[in-house]
């Protein structure tokens, strides 16, 4: 056995042993009165507040969405910025920005039906699946208040539909539908939508991302519904950025930064 592996075994065994020893003090699985789920007697914990009060505050039944986009709106905004920064880092590392300077010949690729017979089954199946996936992605984004879902999840599903196009024919076919310039624009627009909601609240003399003051603009029944609709708005912004960057990561990694040929 090589020497580094001995060190690895020692490190893993010691760390694991300490963790397993510490685990015995943890609350048991599914305990509703554990410190994470319930506060000390006499006061209300944060999570209990979210469960009991967040529907009154925001009129959003999906508590995860209301915590994500309203109570922790700052966190989610910079989360979107993290995704954006990761996409920019991949461009910087693989060097695709400006890499497509030579004009690419935009010939029509072989159609699934009469050209490339080796892909007729895969191509036809994907052509039928892609619209269904995209409609489901839009449902997940738009219905994120009322059912499991939201901007991050729906954005990833939407990006998956473009990746399926790239997998079933080639990367050019996907880039014809969502080109490099367009997905970079989409990523920026997503963040601008999110930050725009925050700045709009500041313009109306409230705190950043305090959606309640948007009531006169959104023409809602009350500040709670304004919060609900603003959450849909920022989720759409998140979905734009996530869609664009997920597809950008795939397109750059599969073509080694050249955005040509793909896998």
């Amino acid at each position: 056995m090589r020497l580094p592996n001995m060190f690895a075994i020692i490190a893993v065994v010691i760390t694991g042993g300490i963790l397993l020893y510490g685990v015995s003090d943890f609350p048991s699985f599914g305990d509703p009165k554990s410190p994470a789920n319930a506060a000390v007697p006499g006061s209300e914990s944060v999570s209990q507040y979210f469960i009991t009060k967040s529907y009154k505050d925001t009129k959003v039944p999906n508590l995860v969405t209301s915590v994500l986009a309203d109570y922790r709106g700052y966190d989610t905004m910079f989360e979107t910025v993290v995704i954006f920064a990761a996409g920019m880092a991949i461009f910087a590392i693989l060097g695709s920005v400006g890499g497509g300077s030579q004009p690419r010949v935009q010939e029509e690729g072989p159609s699934f039906v009469d050209g490339d017979h080796s892909r007729i089954i895969v191509g036809t199946t994907c052509r039928l699946l892609v619209p269904v996936i995209q409609v489901f992605a839009l449902y997940v984004i738009g219905h994120g208040h009322y059912s499991p879902g939201g901007g991050f999840q729906g954005g990833v599903i939407l990006a998956a539909s473009f990746i399926i196009i790239a997998l079933s024919s080639d990367l050019d076919a996907a880039l014809r539908r969502l080109s490099e310039v367009n997905y970079l624009r989409l990523a920026c627009v997503g963040i601008l939508i999110y930050a725009g909601f925050g700045v709009l609240c500041q313009v109306l003399e409230s705190n950043f991302l305090d959606y309640g003051v948007l009531q006169p603009i959104l023409l809602t029944d009350g500040p709670e519904m304004a919060r609900s609709h603003s959450m849909l708005g920022v989720e759409i912004g998140v979905a734009f950025t996530v869609t664009a960057i997920m597809f950008a990561i795939y397109a750059n990694l599969s073509s080694r930064g050249t955005l040509r040929d793909g896998l």
């Binding site: 694991g16 015995s24 789920n37 319930a38 039944p61 508590l63 994500l68 990761a86 930064g257």
Partner: protein
């Protein structure tokens, strides 16, 4: 042995599984020679932590943290049993006249935090894979010892 199983292992079996998963990831990060295998180890490590946090929010017999604002499910169930008032009562509790009991719903906070962690995981994995790709382009290898040999030998062209 039976005592150990009932008092230590059984109430904390979830934590034991996460610690074991985490150590598999840590082992891969330290001992594996291939950079892609190290990244797989990093992902296993992240997954273990995500599972750990989500399991902290689990409550026994609790449902998902999504309210039923019009109480449709309870209403339909109560109507089927002919107990109209029970369904009305539950529906009222959700519309906001009464707050839902926190013990009947899973803790939403770990779910939100782990949504964040998953996003960071995807971002780090994407950047790491692109760096691995550039390393392969530069050195023609993803094996750590071969890369180290090339770096120490100074036989890189540029």
């Amino acid at each position: 042995m039976a005592e150990f199983f009932e008092q230590t292992l059984q109430p904390h079996f979830n934590f034991w599984i996460y610690v074991i998963l985490m150590m598999i990831g840590l082992w891969a990060l330290i001992a594996k020679n291939n950079l892609i295998k190290k990244l797989i180890g990093m992902s296993i490590f992240q997954t273990a932590i995500i599972l750990f946090y989500v399991s902290l929010g689990v409550k026994e017999d609790a449902t998902i943290p999504i309210l039923d604002p019009y109480g449709q499910a309870e209403h339909a169930a109560a109507e089927a049993e002919g107990a109209e008032t029970e369904g009305e009562k539950k529906r009222d509790s959700y519309i906001g006249k009464k707050s839902p009991d926190p013990d009947t719903m899973a803790n939403p906070l770990p779910h939100v935090l782990m949504l964040t962690a998953i996003v960071v995981g995807v971002a780090t994995l994407g950047v790491a894979l692109s760096i691995a790709q550039m390393i392969f382009k530069e050195f023609g290898s993803l094996e750590e010892d071969e890369i180290l040999e090339i770096v120490k030998g100074g036989s890189v062209d540029d």
